[in-house]
Symmetry: C2
Subunit: 199 residues, 2 copies
């Protein structure tokens, strides 16, 4: 069975909105352009989202719920062992990097508009809880502020994806597509965060 | 002696451009608005900067040269001892945080336009060199990738200042003005980066 036309128009509007808001900012992209890009008529935004702002909110919420599915699953259980804990931390870094790369257009919108996807806050809170549980089991150093770990991991991933064009221009590295570089980058970040820079 | 009018008009245009580009983006702010904000006539942008793009470039370059004066001085010499090295790292984190807070308007422009202030790149390169020198003296763990340290420190500071309104909305903390919080935040970040989260 094929997808009903309604659903598909709605998805196209979400995708086109994300692309154009990402490129031109919320104020810079017009309803007219978005509808043209989505090959649909002007009144469809009003039909599905009420307004341009409604479209933005729907994009931000969809971003949040799509992007944190895998990371949230990794935080689901208290780790059984130190090895289990460390391998989850590794997968968290890699999976958020990949998710942000995949949804880069929406990420640009979220950052530009300083939007507040509820799923991002839930993820950060859950991550802190996971670290506190791991601390109780002796897998995390007691003196460390868990929010610094979640913050540092998130900042690294976010900026790597956000500033990819700048990194490419400055250093010639395609951080979004170069799989070898991505793996090396994840490992080097984990090494620093796990063991610190002091010998 | 009072400042010559020419200099002061130029400075006002730089400040107004930074404010309005920061608020509305490069495309969103018009030459007309910037000149009105700077209490000067339209042709002054052309007189001093050639064009709107010329004004943006001047803002970005000024930002870079102003902001990294103190940090660059801290990287000036090879550290004499481990204590000297660690106290410089601490001052680097604090001084870049303060400089970014002070120049937040321009920072927003730089990030939004993905501009490339040459002083930022010079700072990052000098910082890597400083860490490599410190590594040779045994103050930095050999296995750490120096670029991860500079990247992590810069990402933390940048995002703290950039997302200050979001942090205030979400957690009620004024990260730009609360001196006690800022000190605690710097210390907690340094603790994580120096010693890692693995016990």
């Amino acid at each position: 069975m094929s997808e009903p036309t309604g659903t598909s128009t709605r998805s196209r509007l979400l995708a086109s909105g994300a692309t154009l808001f990402g490129e031109k900012g919320y104020d810079g992209a017009s309803i007219r352009e978005i509808c043209k890009h989505a090959s649909t008529s002007m009144n469809m935004i009003h039909h599905y989202f009420g307004s341009k702002e409604g479209l933005l909110n729907a994009i931000v919420e969809q971003f949040g719920s799509d992007i944190f599915v895998v990371p949230m699953r990794l935080l689901d259980k208290v780790p059984r062992s130190k090895e289990d804990f460390l391998s989850r931390m590794e997968m968290l870094l890699e999976s958020t990097l990949e998710a942000y790369i995949e949804q880069r257009a929406v990420l640009l919108v979220v950052v530009r508009e300083q939007a507040d996807p509820s799923a991002l806050r839930e993820y950060m809170e859950r991550f802190v809880e996971f670290l506190e549980q791991s601390k109780k089991k002796g897998f995390v150093r007691k003196e460390v502020d868990s929010e610094m770990i979640t913050g540092a991991m998130h900042d690294r991933v976010l900026n790597q994806v956000l500033f990819a064009p700048w990194i490419k221009r400055s250093f010639g590295i395609d951080v979004l597509a170069d799989a070898t570089y991505k793996r090396r980058w994840c490992n080097a970040n984990l090494d620093l965060l796990m063991h610190g820079f002091v010998p």
